[in-house]
């Protein structure tokens, strides 16, 4: 048994391949998933293996093909719908919020919608204000769906199958800057992952840094920067944006007494706001400093690199927030 080195992109592709191979009901549908190979090349090569029916190009009709995915799930299929970017998912928001998330409840539990919707999210590639946003917090607001945010190659590889096993809609957020990340995975090791638990990526005793998606790496970088200053950060990768794993977060804060929440999205009404609020609700008397937040600047993402980077959380700004929490 040897380890294989693969990129996040390849990990997503392998996960798709596994799903398509394991279950005949699974099919992939979305814009440019077939001939083009996927906007982020995640499905490159899959049409040759599984055919045009199961790797299905859809017209630029987000509302219709996401809705059709929901219908197909109701009808007994296990669709994986790819939306090119989270900004485009707004065109399908009606189907996701008003249908996928509500059908189970408003039918009194008669129907479930076992659909998986994948989309690329996030900034960092100078794609300006209509291709760069982090709206996953909005999805995290909606009851009736599960929202996953794989931050590592391993999670990108492992989260799809349990997502398909979930009888309810699951949205997988893939940060567009992660696709080229590389890591080693056991070639045929354990592929299971618990899609209800956050992951502690670094143990520490002084402050809990809570991040997700592309910000996990930045948080880990910040943690390394702070070692020299004698600050020992614990870094939690949320992984699941809905429902949030309060237990892991609160247990860590109880230990460290300090929390910094990192979120690429805008601060107001953000996931970071929710997490901060839960910490104060559940661990107020354990806190030795106000909960700090490092969020995206409240501006549509600008095109020039220096402004875009200035608008996003960075290891330096995370480190600064940690120092503040430490009252240094």
């Amino acid at each position: 048994m040897t380890n294989s080195r693969l990129t996040y992109r390849e990990a997503v592709r392998e996960a798709l391949r596994e799903a398509l191979a394991r279950d005949k009901r699974v099919f992939l549908m979305g814009e440019d998933v077939n001939r083009y190979g996927g906007a982020y090349a995640c499905s490159l090569g899959l049409p040759a293996e599984f055919g045009d029916e199961r790797v299905r190009d859809a017209p630029l009709s987000e509302s219709a093909f996401v809705g059709a995915g929901i219908g197909a799930a109701l009808g007994g299929m296990r669709p994986i719908v790819e939306i090119m970017t989270i900004n485009f998912s707004l065109l399908a928001l009606d189907q996701i919020v008003n249908s996928a998330a509500t059908l189970r409840h408003m039918s009194g539990g008669q129907f479930s919608v076992p659909i998986v919707i994948r989309m690329a999210t996030g900034a960092g590639r100078q794609l300006a204000a209509q291709h760069s946003h982090s709206l996953e917090g909005w999805y995290g607001h909606i009851p009736g769906i599960r929202v996953l945010a794989p931050a590592t190659v391993a999670d990108a590889r492992r989260m799809l199958w349990p997502a398909l096993e979930d009888p309810d809609p699951v949205i997988i957020m893939e940060h567009a800057t992660l696709y080229n990340d590389e890591d080693e995975l056991p070639a045929d090791g354990d592929m299971s992952v618990d899609i209800t638990k956050a992951a502690t990526r670094r143990q520490g005793s002084d402050v809990t840094v809570i991040a997700h998606s592309a910000c996990v790496k930045k948080a880990l970088n910040a943690a390394e920067m702070l070692v020299g200053e004698g600050i020992d950060c614990e870094v939690i990768d949320l992984r699941i944006l809905r429902p949030l794993d309060d237990e892991t977060i609160i247990a860590s804060v109880r230990k460290t007494h300090r929390a910094v929440v990192v979120d690429e999205a805008w601060r107001s009404g953000s996931l970071a706001a929710e997490i901060s609020s839960r910490i104060t609700e559940q661990a107020f008397y354990d806190l030795d400093a106000p909960v700090e937040r490092v969020c995206g600047a409240e501006v549509p993402i600008p095109y020039p690199k220096h402004l875009e980077q200035a608008a996003l959380p960075q290891p330096q700004s995370i480190a600064a927030a940690v120092r503040k929490a430490m009252r240094r």
Binding site: E62, Q126, A128, Q130, A297, Y303, L307, A310, A311
Partner: protein, 334 residues
């Protein structure tokens, strides 16, 4: 001044030079952009219009300067033809503060209030409802002019396309819809995404007079646009033009173009709109070879100056990051 009420194309020597000059500006500008992209001067997505120049040039030559244009993320050509200074467009590609959108938008989001150029929309079909609204405003304010909306055939799959056409027809609004059908919505061929490959037929079902033309022939495009825009201005409601065209380049810079046959691309390149028009105009003695050389020399100079201008310009300081999210209080409408 051309008579804007005249449906015919008056191909004077002057006008022919102008058509070729505009197509050349767009073509050479974008070729330069591709180069600058590889040098990392331009970043983000860069969607080139090369091959499709006849559409913007043909249509926009029929519009008055105050008639609004709504375009897509493949809009450098439309901006230049509309009259946005090349310096500012190039500076925008660089993300510089003197760019037409202060550098905030980049390639996909070129805007100019002065030129009534409403961008620069990177959400497919996102511009159609805006154009309908601009036309609605004109109608309600009693201003007799057209609003011109460019989009690709990929947009015809979106709900917003259908909803907008219906609204424009229902309310009899002065919109000229121009569908630049280059046969590929990113990597998806028309036949793989449309049950009925005729886009203009869709407009017809909403009761909008529509016409399909050869988008590689600038004279045909201009003639069709002239007829349509005059009808719109006369208050006959919206019109729809489908131009059949082709992009010679891939969808964006980072596109291996796996979905098109090389032979297909070569076949279309034989119908290069610049070559087609120049050859025809030369043979009709509307132009001579010197004209063509002079145009190329002028354009090269303009581009060189634009690159120098963009290079020399400053980036906006980081302290200004939060600018222009909402209006400053002094601009509040009272």
């Amino acid at each position: 001044m051309r008579n804007i009420a005249d449906d015919r194309v008056h191909l004077t020597r002057e006008h022919a030079v102008e058509l070729l000059r505009q197509m050349t500006r767009v073509r050479r500008f974008e070729e330069k952009c591709a180069e600058l992209y590889t040098q990392e001067k331009i970043r983000g997505f860069l969607h080139l219009y090369i091959g499709e120049e006849a559409n913007a040039v043909g249509v926009i030559s029929t519009l008055t300067g105050d008639e609004a244009i709504v375009a897509t993320y493949r809009e450098h050509g439309h901006a230049l033809v509309r009259g946005l200074p090349m310096n500012e467009v190039m500076a925008e590609m660089f993300g510089k503060a003197v760019g037409s959108s202060r550098g905030r938008g980049g390639s996909m989001h070129i805007f100019s209030a002065h030129h009534r150029f409403f961008g620069g929309n990177a959400i497919v079909a996102g511009g159609l409802p805006l154009a309908v609204g601009l036309a609605l405003a004109d109608k309600m304010l009693g201003i007799e002019r057209a609003t011109c909306c460019f989009f690709g055939e990929g947009a015809a799959a979106e709900g917003e396309f259908h909803e907008s056409l219906n609204l424009a027809a229902l309310w009899h609004l002065p919109v000229l819809f121009v569908c630049e059908n280059n046969f590929y919505a990113m990597g998806t061929a028309l036949a793989r995404s449309q049950s009925n490959p005729s886009i203009s037929a869709r407009a017809a079902v909403y009761g909008i007079a529509s016409e399909a033309v050869d988008g590689m022939n600038v004279v045909d495009v201009e003639a069709a646009a002239r007829r349509a825009v005059h009808a719109v201005r006369r208050g006959e409601g919206p019109r729809f033009i489908e131009t059949k065209t082709y992009r010679f380049r891939a969808h964006s810079m980072f596109d291996p173009d796996l979905y098109r046959e090389k032979a297909e691309i070569e076949t279309w390149k034989k119908r290069d709109p610049m070559v087609l028009f120049a050859d025809w105009a030369l043979s009709a003695a509307l132009l001579n070879l010197d004209d063509r050389e002079a145009i190329e020399a002028d354009v090269a100079q303009e581009i060189e100056a634009a690159v120098a201008f963009a290079e020399a310009a400053d980036f906006e300081p980081v302290e200004d990051l939060m600018k222009d999210v909402v209006s400053p209080p002094s601009e509040y409408i009272r």
